[in-house]
């Protein structure tokens, strides 16, 4: 019995190995196109070994083009522009490309073979999404239930993102969770510093990732994340900007304010920060600093129900009411909202009532 099993295993393995060897030899002679260079968006250059399909070559270089069928040419998702070196359009690609796409050199990544130097164009978003290994470098208490985490990048060592974008943080398996989960957090740090990011996280009672970050994550620990993602960003106009965000919704706004300072942006900006209690206010000093450093910036903390003993003399009540009371010429403004769905929906109503165009309201709902 044992002998039979052994013979079976040996025979099948050796046939497999023989065929594999044949293929390796054949590949060496037939499919060896030598080193080829791939120029991406005119800025990055890869040197790869020719012979493979563009899609798999890019995947090996950690550039992930979406593909559902795994490179068999049946889903048509892996479209990208190949400007030079792809050769004629293949019949396997024709069904997936319309006239405009053919004229602008769109090809299917899984069908184009790398046999010579290529020039390709990939949407910036796809190019930028990567996995990062980081080290937790600093944890600061902002309020009783919010902390700021500084993650220094280990591999790769720098990150490029648009202020307002978010990353997905990997929560490893730990005592209170038996599976790995990803949770999205907006980047809050100064975008000038590409070697690290900061996140502002508010403890969600019972939350898998926030509990991990608050109770288990220690300075010096290694964490993984991927990104950046998201369309929430400052427009390029000069319209006065109104930011409305409370709690950890401050993260992307803080990042945008850093960016405005770095780029010498002179547009008018007002930031309404909503909180229930005075003790929920944070980073007030930094905001005062922005007020003095930015051309025309005002920070308006609004406390819904200030504690008796705090002598709060700022704006009181719901943040939406404060906006309604104090915002001038709303019709010209652009609004940027970030926070819980409830707060965003309430703000949308008020802003529309004030006459802010719907196409001028941008938001990032934390769901």
């Amino acid at each position: 019995m044992l002998a039979a099993v052994l013979i079976a295993v040996v025979v099948v393995s050796s046939i497999g190995a023989g065929l594999a060897a044949l293929l390796v030899v054949a590949e060496h002679f037939f499919a060896n196109y030598g080193p080829c260079s791939i120029t991406i968006n005119d800025e990055r250059q890869l040197t790869v070994n020719g012979g493979g399909k563009l899609l798999s070559v890019l995947t090996a270089e950690k550039i992930f083009i979406p593909s559902a069928c795994g490179g068999r040419g049946t889903c048509g998702l892996c479209k990208l522009k190949v400007l030079e070196g792809a050769g004629p359009l293949l019949p396997t690609e024709e069904p997936y490309l319309d006239k405009d796409q053919r004229e602008s050199n769109v090809r299917l990544g899984c069908q184009v073979k790398v046999r010579n130097d290529l020039k390709i164009e990939i949407p910036q978003e796809l190019l930028a999404v990567r996995e990062y290994i980081c080290k937790c470098a600093e944890i600061i208490d902002l309020t009783h239930d919010m902390k700021q985490f500084r993650l220094e990048l280990v591999e790769p060592q720098t990150i490029d993102y648009v202020p307002g974008q978010y990353i997905q943080l990997l929560t490893p398996v730990y005592e209170k969770s038996s599976e790995e989960v990803y949770r999205a957090y907006s980047i809050s740090s100064d975008p000038a510093d590409k070697s690290a990011i900061e996140l502002i996280i508010r403890l969600v009672p019972g939350g898998i990732c926030t509990t991990y970050c608050f109770e288990y994550l220690k300075v010096g620990d290694q964490v993984k994340m991927n990104g950046p993602y998201g369309e929430f960003r400052l427009s390029e106009t000069n319209a006065p900007a109104v930011f409305i965000a409370g709690g950890s919704g401050m993260a992307p706004i803080k990042c945008m304010l850093h960016h405005m300072k770095n780029t010498g942006n002179k547009r008018k900006a007002t930031y309404y920060f909503g909180a229930n209690k005075v003790k929920e206010l944070c980073l007030g000093e930094l905001m005062r600093q922005f007020e003095s450093e930015l051309a025309d910036f005002r920070f308006v903390p609004v406390i819904a129900a200030p504690e008796q003993d705090q002598n709060w003399d700022g704006e009181k009540g719901p943040v939406t009411e404060a906006v309604q009371r104090t915002l001038d010429n709303a019709g010209q403004c652009e609004a940027y909202l970030c926070g819980s769905p409830g707060m965003i929906d309430a703000s949308l109503d008020v802003l529309k009532k004030l006459g802010v165009g719907e196409d001028k309201i941008f938001y990032d709902k934390f769901e």
Partner: protein
């Protein structure tokens, strides 16, 4: 069986594989490329030719491997694994060779080869030929017939789909939905051939 009777049996199996036992329309094997690459006649033609070629040759290779390696060693049950390995290796090898030595042929036929590496019609035909206990000569007829049958089916489908391209199809049925319905109707039509020949 004498050689002549084997040859005439091979012819019967061939015709039956093309029509009555059409691997695509009676067994519904090889559906993925059938739906994916049947939008244009040109692409369907190339893929169909590639299937004919690969099906015929791999059936023969697998017949040899089965009868000269697996049967003597009593390892019939390994045929699934072995067949898949042989098909994949053969397709890879042919693709590389065509790509290197004949770019025009690669352009027309070679690009389709990787699409059918894991096509179940090919593995299916290889397994049927074992189950039905075909001889080597009959296997030639069967492999070629199955390939041509698949080719005819995808060509018919591509022709229909090209005509449908400009028709107004309800949104929920567009794409693969209407294609599967057409495939079902074609299968019904092919049932009409059943009884013409009893090939197996």
């Amino acid at each position: 069986m004498s050689l002549t009777s084997q040859m005439s049996y091979a012819l019967v199996v061939f015709v039956s594989a093309v029509f009555t036992q059409n691997i695509l329309l009676s067994n519904f094997l090889g559906m993925c490329p059938f739906i994916g690459v049947s939008r244009e006649i040109k692409a369907a033609f190339g893929l169909g030719l590639a299937v004919i070629f690969v099906l015929t040759v791999t059936c023969l290779l697998n017949w040899l491997a089965y009868h000269y390696v697996l049967v003597p060693l009593g390892l019939h049950f390994f045929r699934f694994i072995l067949f898949i390995i042989i098909i994949a290796a053969f397709v890879q090898f042919v693709e590389m060779a065509i790509d290197r030595f004949s770019p025009p042929l690669y352009q027309r036929l070679g690009v389709f080869l990787p699409l059918i590496t894991v096509n179940c019609a090919i593995l299916g035909a290889c397994l049927f030929m074992i189950i039905r206990d075909y001889s080597f000569i009959v296997t030639i007829g069967y492999g070629l017939g199955s390939g041509i049958g698949w080719f005819l089916a995808i060509m018919a489908m591509a022709g229909i789909r090209q005509r449908l391209a400009n028709e107004r199809i309800p949104r929920g049925l567009q794409g693969p939905g209407i294609t599967l319905i057409i495939a079902g109707l074609m299968a019904l039509a092919f049932i009409g051939f059943a009884g013409v020949l009893q090939g197996s």
